[in-house]
């Protein structure tokens, strides 16, 4: 008997969209996400190109639709342990990690985090801010349940504490909570495991981590976001001053055989968007984008680039900078590059430099693929389907893939492919 249920791995925009489509068709969906909240990378974005829609404003309703949908079971802070069986009859074992906070009791008030004495570097804010050892992944998290990070919590580290338990009026803290094993029977699986950010300290010539005013694109995104660590104010890490000039360097780690040989697909537009937003925040600010090819191929993208040039003081310079040094007096980063039009070697100083870092398949991708028995390509993406007519198939029948785990792609492409994978999963359930 075919199980009219689908397991979706990854709760980013692709996993969310695939889940909603299938659930709306009347299919039961188990959505597994390793982080404490669904939302994925899109939740970290301030606004989205080319419409400049606030990312959270369009994502939050979808996250909540997932949480409230009668056909969707959300399994956050959970990971796939193993899967057996075949199309129509898969048996999956999922580990729901202990949050040490009771999901049914926690109201998400935040009193616990306010009192928690331990500060931890905030991963969601790309390392720019701090969170507590008991925390909500981000303000609009779904579910809104808090979670204790045992690697940093004083009590779990053998010290005296217990402040959160004393503070919680809902009596939701449960230090004894154990990981939970959940067994699922499903007819098909969709992989939507998304992407991670490439560690740009590997490109020592650009000085990230060493030069204070050099940030990654994701750090800048969190900084310019109204709900980010600086409340949307641009501040130079070296002196807290507002920058007047920004430079974006494209293809940092992408299109580079020493690092990632592929094009990360979203960065040309992403940098353009960040430059536009910066100018919107500070009309006297100007930006320069150092690029190799300006790959603005989506609907409305060329017009967006034109607007950036004419209305938002964005200059495009075709060059691949060789290195970044620092002006010792004001700690301004200095970019060294060859102007390809004049073939001159030039230097130019900026208040802040943003590196458009390469994106790569998430580390979970490899682990999940191995457990499912899906083969990956030399870059760690799900191997492209040999059948051009079925671009969502993987090497295991009944398992489909969509979104960034297949290849670098932006939000609209991920959303299209998520719905498409949902179609293939529905077809697989129907044809058995």
């Amino acid at each position: 008997m075919t199980q009219k249920a689908v397991l979706v791995l990854g709760g980013g925009i692709a996993g969310i969209q695939a889940s909603i489509d299938l659930a709306n068709m009347g299919t039961r969906v188990y959505l597994v996400e390793k982080k404490p909240s669904i939302g994925g990378r899109m939740a970290q974005l301030d606004k989205t190109f080319p419409t400049n829609d606030c990312a959270m404003c369009i994502l939050a309703p979808k996250m909540i639709e997932c949480a409230n949908h009668e056909n969707i079971t959300l399994l956050t802070y959970s990971e796939l342990a193993e899967i057996q069986g075949e199309t129509g009859r898969f048996k999956a074992r999922v580990i729901k990690k202990a949050r040490f906070v009771d999901e049914d009791k926690c109201v998400g008030c935040g009193d616990c985090a306010a009192k928690c004495p331990t500060k931890v570097v905030d991963e969601f804010n790309a390392g720019l801010g701090q969170r507590k050892a008991i925390y909500k992944y981000f303000p609009q998290a779904v579910p809104s349940t808090y979670v204790i990070d045992p690697d940093h919590c004083r009590l779990f580290q053998g010290k005296k504490c217990g402040v959160c338990e004393k503070t919680c009026k809902a009596k939701a803290i449960d230090y004894g909570q154990k990981d939970q094993e959940i067994l699922l029977e499903v007819g098909a699986v969709i992989m939507a495991t998304g992407f991670d950010l490439y560690d740009v300290s590997a490109l020592s010539e650009y000085g990230w981590g060493r030069l204070k005013n050099v940030l990654t694109a994701m750090q800048f995104e969190r900084m310019i976001c109204a709900s980010g660590p600086t409340m949307g104010h641009l501040k130079r890490p070296s002196d807290g001053k507002e920058p007047k000039t920004l430079a974006f360097i494209q293809c940092v780690g992408s299109r580079d055989v020493r690092h990632k040989k592929y094009c990360s697909a979203v960065c040309c537009m992403h940098a353009t968007k960040e430059a536009i937003l910066a100018h919107e925040h500070y009309p006297e600010l100007s930006s320069a984008i150092f690029y190799m090819d300006m790959r603005a191929v989506g609907k409305g993208f060329q017009d967006y680039i034109q607007r950036a040039k004419t209305e938002y003081a964005v200059e495009y310079i075709r060059a691949r900078p060789g290195r970044i040094t620092e002006n010792e007096e004001n700690l301004n980063p200095v970019i060294h590059y060859e102007d390809t039009n004049t073939r001159e070697l030039k230097t130019r100083e900026f208040d802040m430099v943003i590196l458009s870092q390469a994106l790569m398949p998430s580390e979970t991708n490899a682990a999940v693929a191995e457990k499912i028995g899906v083969s990956l390509d030399d870059c760690g993406f799900v191997s492209p389907s040999q059948d051009l007519l079925n671009p969502f198939a993987t090497t295991r029948s009944g398992v489909f893939a969509c979104g960034f785990c297949q290849s670098p792609m932006d939000v609209p492409d991920s959303v299209v492919r998520a719905s498409a994978a949902a179609s293939k999963a529905a077809e697989a359930l129907a044809s058995r």
């Binding site: 489509d21 109204a226 697909a265 390809t340 670098p408 949902a422 179609s423 129907a430």
Partner: protein, 564 residues
Amino acid sequence: MSDAMRVGVFVCHCGTNIGGIVNVPHVVEYARTLPCVACAEGNLYTCSEDGLSTIANKIRELHLNRVVVASCTPRTHETLFRKNCERAGLNKYLFEFVNLREHCSWVHMDKPEKATLKAMDLVRMGVAKVSLLKAREDLSTAVLQAALILGGGISGLSAALVLANQGYRVELVEKEAELGGLLRFVNRVFPTHQPATELLDPLIDSVLKHPNIQVHLGSEIKTVKGFVGNFKATIDENAEMRDLNVGTIIVAVGAQVHKPEDAFGYGRFENVMTQLDFEGRCGGYDAFNRVVMISCVGARCEERSYCGRFCCIVGLKNAILLKEANPRAHVTILHRDVMAVGKLYEEYYRRALEKGIAFVRFDESQPPQVKGAGTRAEKVQVLDTLMGRQIELDADLVLLTTPLVPAADNGLLSRMMKIPLGMDGFFLEAHQKLRPVEFPADGIFVAGCARYPAEISESIAQALAAAAKAAVPMAMGRVVTDAFVAEIDPALCSACGRCVTVCPFGAVDWSEVGGPDHGKKSVAEVNPAECKGCGLCAASCLSGAIRLSGFTDEQIMAMIGSQR
């Protein structure tokens, strides 16, 4: 509990979006002083789980019978808050949305004090209106388990097959005499280089053999009436009129190749052709020794601002095929940017570089010049921006890489089905980011090059995505539509017909009712299943016969009349 009005007001900070400008605690205090308000609260994010459960709890605890949320826009959040009311046992039409973000904090960022006063006004108006709202039920209609697919190219074929495999009946309408669309004129496909027919033939075969698919070749769509769940399309199938009754429609009519009349010697020199001309005409790839390709012909220019998305890849493909067929051939691609986005394309670009294909970047302001004698192009001159000097290339073949342009019938279909076109002439989706294959009108979807240039795998992806959306109402068997629709009082209707003309959704039509003298009289009537509640008809009615529930004159006057 008594029937007395008990209004709950929930004011959202929206992080700093509202709270950074409007003094939210002040607005909350003010709301508590308004008539019938039983409670008022502020939330950091009213749409978060937290905010929603606060509302639900207050509804239950205080027996609220009206709810006002003052936050962002109903466009994205109305459904959410209404569902939340329903969850707590309150009829969802007893909810009023006040927009303090788009209508207040965002537009008055520089005047926080005045913005706070305006926010108080808006909240007061919301409270005045909500008391006059009445409980209503959603409208529900049955859905036919059949889809109409317009266009038999790779998109239409893929959508047809995946829907048919799920058990839905499919009517596939193609205006040409055969299936396959643009792909019929393509020689080999990226990146496998297998002949296009190898892909297309088995797909066409499965579609033709499928018991659930009815193919209508040489057929043109004439009219489309009805609404989601129950569309009636009339087609002209080889001069015979036929009615098709379906529940959903997928528009996959494709696009056409841009022909650059008079540019770069096209039409003057026989050896200057578009990539697709070449693929159609070419017997062998080995007959050329010096090939020059010019990219962005008719794209990313004043006349047509968009990028053709995959034209660079078509150029790469033919360059690689030419070079593989004749390794001694000189193949040069003149380009502005090589749009090899992502992984497969970038690999393909590298493959072309490794094969020795030359790439020369030119500037839009100094396009290449094609020189020749008689009917033959012989040389291409261009300013190589990387070298900073003019170069001249010999050419026995010049290929122009041109984008796809919208199909000629798009305007007609747009009017017929009331689905919008963008400035570029392609169909415009409901939302670029999150609703890429949907239209504002329910039950009609778009896929492939009808929406924007899309190569094979993208077209298939969009087709399957559109199929997923179309499957939803068909799988559920019913659609539920909003109860805030226009209503016409037949006694007041003067049958002037303004509302019938003005309705953009075709929801108002004529109907016969008993007249005052026991005869018949014609009056306008709204089909609630098609009505989107836009209010155009109500505003245009000279007789005051049309009221839009949820926005009646009484409610609007109450909003205006309430005083601070």
